[in-house]
């Protein structure tokens, strides 16, 4: 393909530092221009990936996301700016990328990446970059890449930990060879629940961009069959070898997954990292209703299942703290005959706490819908939202 590609004088000047590297040169730069890469997610990982691929002159870059830019994104999602708050992420990202490099084409897909549209969206691209924030979309991305024979440049982050690999089932293992099953819902907190060091996706995302460029250029040793484990706290990079699992359900010898499935059902969690948790209509209580009932003097125990350090940000008067991780061990402190309202930051952890208590026989309880953040928006506006 790259034989038909030419570079203008302006492009030759722009890519001068690439052209000077013998491993890239004019031929390599043409390969980059002829390449098409799909970036799934324009969040923490997608931001540096998209910026560096655009700057490097990857000719066609696709972006999939359906979110809008939020203030809480800007601590790490450096492709977006304060002026972009409220704007569609794919539009905000495209504008920044075309400002960085007007010679490339940026295609945007303002839709959730799901089994129904994944083939259509991925079809024109050579390489898929997994910058998503949830397990269902990661399994979908993997299976799609295996079924279509495209390499999956994988990156994942949590707090201070990062992982990176290239899953290319034609040449090595896939994501499911390493993680045949997702962890049980709730074991691994998401970034919206557990937080993430803002610069961490910068480290892992730039490595994903590096791997994508190497794959396009055909240089170096791609991370196929190897997994990087990065720990920002100790600044350690550990590498482990990954092997293809002959019994892998999607890339093994007798695959049982031969088409895309329902990944939300497979993982038991939603395909996004929004943290507006609900325990279901019958179990939720709205902030205003709770405020009215407390005002009437009803006896309700307010159990905060967040972590102790979150109390410094906001608290509800009269609350008692029992972090979710301690709930099972401290259940004796609760009385199932007394009404309980559980809450956390936004309702996800408290919905899980409600399940824990329900399985122990508790019935007189509610989940504060939207958590203390909804309480801060609707009842006590003196509290910050985080």
């Amino acid at each position: 393909m790259s034989e038909d590609v030419t570079l203008s004088h302006e492009e030759i000047l722009r890519y001068s530092r690439h052209l000077l590297i013998p491993d890239v040169g004019l031929e390599g730069q043409k390969k980059l221009k002829a390449a098409a890469v799909l970036v799934i997610g324009t969040g923490g990982l997608g931001s540096p990936v998209a910026l560096y691929l655009a700057a490097a002159g990857v000719g066609r870059i696709g972006l999939v996301d359906y979110d809008v830019v939020d203030e809480s994104n800007l601590q790490r999602q450096v492709i977006h700016g304060t002026s972009g708050v409220g704007v569609l992420k794919v539009e905000s990202a495209r504008e920044r990328m075309l400002d960085l490099n007007p010679d490339i084409t940026v295609e945007v897909y303002n839709e959730p990446f799901v089994s129904e549209n994944a083939y259509r969206i991925a079809e024109p691209y050579d390489i898929i970059i997994d910058g998503t924030d949830n397990f269902p979309t990661r399994y979908l991305t993997n299976d799609l890449c295996v079924l279509t024979g495209k390499p999956n440049v994988y990156g994942s982050i949590f707090r201070f930990d990062g992982q990176l690999s290239v899953f290319d089932a034609k040449r090595g293992p896939c994501y499911r060879c390493l993680f045949p099953e997702p962890p049980p819902p709730g074991l691994v907190p998401s970034c919206a629940e557990g937080g993430v060091l803002g610069v961490l996706p910068g480290t892992i995302g730039t490595l994903q961009a590096t791997e994508a460029l190497k794959l396009i250029l055909g240089i170096g040793t791609p991370m196929i069959g190897r997994l990087l484990l990065y720990d920002a706290l100790t600044l350690s990079f550990d590498f482990v070898n990954l092997r293809k699992d002959p019994n892998c359900r999607v890339c093994g010898q007798n695959p049982t997954v031969t088409e895309l499935i329902d990944y939300e059902q497979f993982c038991g969690v939603p395909g996004h990292d929004h943290d507006e948790g609900s325990a279901g209509k019958d179990w939720d209580i709205e902030p205003r209703e709770l405020a009215e009932r407390l005002e009437r003097g009803e006896k309700i125990r307010l159990i905060d299942v967040r972590e102790p350090h979150e109390l410094e940000i906001s608290r509800i008067e009269g609350e008692e703290l029992i972090p979710l991780g301690q709930l099972a061990a401290r259940m004796s402190e609760l009385d199932s005959a007394q009404e309980i309202v559980l809450f956390c930051k936004a309702g996800t952890r408290s919905a899980r706490a409600l399940e824990v208590l329900a399985s122990a026989g508790f019935r007189k309880m509610k989940n504060l819908h939207g958590g203390i953040n909804a309480w801060a928006r609707e009842v006590d506006t003196s509290l910050p939202v985080y």
Binding site: G41, G43, G44, L45, G46, D130, G131, T132, D133, N134, F135, R138, G155, S156, I157, F158, R159, F160, D161, Q163, L178, F179, P180, E181, P182, P183, P184, L187, V188, P189, S190, C191, G194, V196, P201, L227, L229, D231, L233, T234, D238, F239, V240, N241, L242, R243, D273, G325
Partner: protein
């Protein structure tokens, strides 16, 4: 003694430690010792039948213990065991 690297999501169940010293002639013995010290870790690592849970990846130095001798793999003092978590943030 060998060391076991505990990933961030499992640290709350291992007294907040990122690395623990482990003793045992095999990987299985070392893990049994760790889960005796930190009982909260036990259900996260092992299924009720005593096997490692399928989403738990345990590597000895740079190899998956499933590609070695599993829980029977001999352990040396200089060895490094790593638990590799499923994380999904992006």
């Amino acid at each position: 003694m060998a060391t076991l690297r505990v990933p961030t999501p499992l640290r709350p169940y291992a007294g907040g430690q990122s690395e623990v010293k482990v003793q045992g002639g095999t990987v299985g013995e070392a893990l049994a010792e760790v889960t005796r010290q930190h009982s909260a870790l036990q259900p996260h690592l092992f299924a009720p039948d005593g096997q490692l849970r399928p989403y738990v990846n345990l590597f000895l130095n740079d190899e998956d213990v499933r590609d070695l001798q599993g829980l029977e793999t001999p352990l040396e003092d200089s060895d490094r065991l790593m638990l590799i978590p499923s994380i999904a943030g992006g």
